[in-house]
């Protein structure tokens, strides 16, 4: 393992990999810092540029975007009070007050160093756990895969805060998308509705690009005003003693480790993402703190917890996609698409069949952290100037790149039509309060669920095997338990709010 990792790291220093990684990291930092532009959108914009590259070059670039984006988001959170991305919201709670108290450099670098340390601690788990987990998954038959994918979908649907039914319905709708087109076993056309471009099925990348890019851009346009750009104080002093900042973090080892652990666990869970990780880590830091009342006033604990967790979250997401082929979030879903375009099958066999690529990805993840550090050390002011680019310019350019990305998938207008249709659908889903994460996971896993269901029934038509094979039974049991747990949590929240409203009435 260490030999392969060493080779991966040495290979990553080659110009042909280092340049895409560096550019990806740079774009990620800028995209993460731009309020209103998420990392998902940044990676979507970068995706078409990777089509002509080698798989590892493209993946290194995307990993750079992911790591850079997670760190870049804290710049505007701390200095302008505007989270650059959802996973930096909790950073704003203490980062901005600290900056306003006259310590912008301390706020910024506490966040950057916590991100780097959290990310690198996550790398240890990424490298150590992915292989054994993939080995475990190799023991799976179609029954277990079916159960695993069902568990992933039910967990994501259950974690939706607003409504369990909407989460489940959203996941089911994603699966419906995969049944349009050809049946994956015999290639027989089905439910094409007479539309010629549906005959080949609906590729998931234009769906993902459309759903995420449009839902976000159009939702932003509802509140659009060109006068909302944050003012940049050019005279802001970012000078800081890095030794002191590092000491501030390292003297809180439990906070750093616990926040990293939370980020990793949330990352491993499918399709949840860093926005949940940073809020949960912040909440946990507050609960464990001896001075919880100080949270929100500009204390280092709030910044460290939030930033360590959201970078560790990246490692967790990579574990899930590399060991099981299940995307940990939307960014890794795009990576999954990139792998598919290059003809690489993700899943448990990924590491054993593509060891140089897998260890190259680990190396890219590890090296992206020092690159972020160097970039921000020299260019944080430059990034601050870029983030005030008007959205009236940014949004049309992003949408053009979405069109190019969709078109380049098959040099065909069909995928562009898919982009438009699902862009509209994604926006409507947001307006009707349907969560997007279960939908996208349904689109990605729907095919696999069908293939494994058919395989299992073709091997043995006994349906009881799903619950008599131990791993499959365990996974399906966990799936039922996760739904039961979310029903219980939802009811408890409802009861609490009813009691609170009764108390308020008196």
């Amino acid at each position: 393992m260490f030999e392969l990792l060493g080779a991966g790291l040495a290979g990553m220093f080659h110009v042909k990999y280092l340049v895409p990684l560096f550019l990806g990291t740079l774009i990620g930092v800028v995209g993460g810092a731009l309020p209103g532009i998420t990392i998902t959108m940044t990676v979507i914009v970068v995706l078409p540029f990777t089509f002509g590259l080698e798989p590892l070059q493209g993946l290194a670039c995307m990993i750079g975007v992911y790591v850079g984006g997670e760190t870049g988001g804290l710049i505007t959170s701390c200095l302008l009070g505007i989270p650059g991305k959802p996973s930096a919201v909790a950073t704003t709670f203490d980062g901005f007050p600290m900056a306003r108290k006259g310590e912008p450099g301390r706020a910024l670098w506490l966040g950057i160093w916590a991100s780097i340390l959290g990310g690198l601690l996550g790398a240890i788990v990424l490298v150590a756990a992915t292989g054994p987990l993939a080995q475990l998954a190799l023991k799976f038959g179609p029954w277990e895969y079916f159960a695993l994918f069902v568990l992933a979908l039910s967990m994501v649907a259950g974690l939706v805060e607003s409504s369990l039914v909407k989460g489940l319905l959203s996941g089911a709708l994603g699966c419906v998308v995969t049944v349009l087109g050809n049946d994956p076993v015999m290639g027989q056309p089905r439910l094409t509705l007479g539309i010629s471009w549906l005959e080949g099925g609906i590729p998931f990348l234009p769906v993902l690009i459309g759903v995420f890019a449009f839902s976000q851009i159009m939702s932003d346009l509802e509140r659009f005003s060109e006068n909302t750009s944050a003012a940049l104080n050019a005279a802001i002093n970012l000078t800081v003693s890095h030794a002191k900042v590092l000491a501030e973090i390292l003297t809180r080892p439990f906070l750093l480790l616990w926040s990293t652990f939370i980020g990793l666990v949330i990352g491993v869970l499918p399709a949840i993402g860093g926005s949940a990780a940073n809020m949960l880590a912040y909440d946990q830091a507050k609960k464990f703190s001896q001075r919880p009342e100080k949270f929100g006033s500009g204390i280092p604990e709030g910044i460290i917890a939030s930033e360590a967790s959201n970078n560790a979250n990246v490692a967790g997401s990579l574990v899930t996609i590399m060991a099981f082929g299940i995307p940990g979030d939307a960014v890794t879903a795009v990576m999954l698409g990139a792998l598919t375009i290059h003809g690489i099958q993700s899943g448990p066999l990924f590491i054993s069949q593509n060891a140089p690529l897998a260890y190259g990805m680990f190396a890219a993840y590890i090296l992206a952290h020092p690159l972020v550090l160097i970039l921000l050390f020299f260019g944080v002011r430059w990034v601050l100037r870029i983030v005030i680019v008007p959205k009236s310019i940014l949004f049309p350019v992003v949408l053009v790149l979405c069109v190019v990305g969709a078109y380049a998938l098959g040099n065909s207008m069909a995928t562009v039509y898919v982009l438009l249709v699902f862009g509209l659908l994604g926006y409507l889903m947001v307006k009707f309060g349907f969560p997007l994460a279960p939908f996208i996971l349904g689109v990605i896993l729907g095919d696999q669920i069908e293939i494994n269901l058919v395989r299992s029934l073709m091997t043995d038509s006994d349906l009881w095997l799903f619950v008599t094979r131990p791993i499959s039974a365990l996974l399906l049991g966990a799936s039922v338990a996760s739904i039961a747990l979310s029903i219980w949590q939802h009811r408890r929240t409802q009861k609490k709010s009813a009691v609170a409203s009764d108390a308020a009435d008196f």
């Binding site: 078409p48 540029f49 089509f51 002509g52 409504s163 039914v165 909407k166 489940l168 319905l169 089911a172 709708l173 699966c175 419906v176 049944v179 049946d183 076993v185 015999m186 027989q188 089905r190 439910l191 509705l193 851009i217 159009m218 346009l221 509802e222 509140r223 659009f224 008007p390 959205k391 009236s392 310019i393 949004f395 049309p396 350019v397 949408l399 053009v400 790149l401 069109v403 190019v404 078109y407 380049a408 040099n411 207008m413 562009v416 039509y417 438009l420 862009g423 509209l424 926006y427 307006k431 009707f432 309060g433 349907f434 729907g446 669920i449 069908e450 058919v454 029934l457 073709m458 038509s461």
Partner: protein
């Protein structure tokens, strides 16, 4: 009993899933495999319909408190942006990538931030031109993605 957004959303999904379910009944089984092409779609669509029905029923049974007065949202701009984007997609096969992208970027940029001077219009034109040229050259020349040519313009 009045339906809220949840109920209407549920009804739309219910109708769509029942329609597709009915279509699966016409799918013929293949003698070579024990499970026909309609087996899995029927399961998925039945589950979807069941969840959609549950959403409608829950919405009918729920008490709907009066909606709080929120901020006014600019839906007109969203509709206009979708329309301009739809026109762009529609124009791509006829005008080609370069002309339609130039027009799209200029139109949407002007729509989002209407220029009030000659300088403003020059900025719109410049942004559209730079975007089109850079995207075209990067993808067509360096990443070998053959961008669409126009049927009408051959450009």
């Amino acid at each position: 009993m009045k339906l809220s957004k949840d109920g209407w959303g549920g009804l739309a999904v219910l109708a769509a899933s029942l329609f597709l379910f009915a279509l699966t009944l016409g799918l013929k089984d293949n003698p070579l495999v024990p499970i026909g092409p309609g087996y899995y779609p029927r399961i998925v669509l039945a589950i979807t319909a069941a969840f959609a029905l549950a959403l409608v029923v829950m919405d009918l049974m729920a008490k709907h408190p009066p909606a709080p007065a929120g901020e006014k949202l600019n839906y007109l701009l969203v509709v206009e942006m979708f329309a301009v984007f739809g026109l762009y997609i529609g124009a791509l096969p006829y005008l080609g990538f370069r002309i339609s992208t130039l027009l799209y970027v200029a139109a949407s940029n002007a729509l989002l931030d209407l220029p009030r001077s000659v300088r403003g219009w020059a900025r719109v034109a410049l942004v559209a031109l730079i975007t089109t040229v850079v995207v075209y050259y990067v993808f067509e020349r360096y990443l070998t993605v053959l961008m669409p040519r126009g049927r009408w313009t051959n450009f």
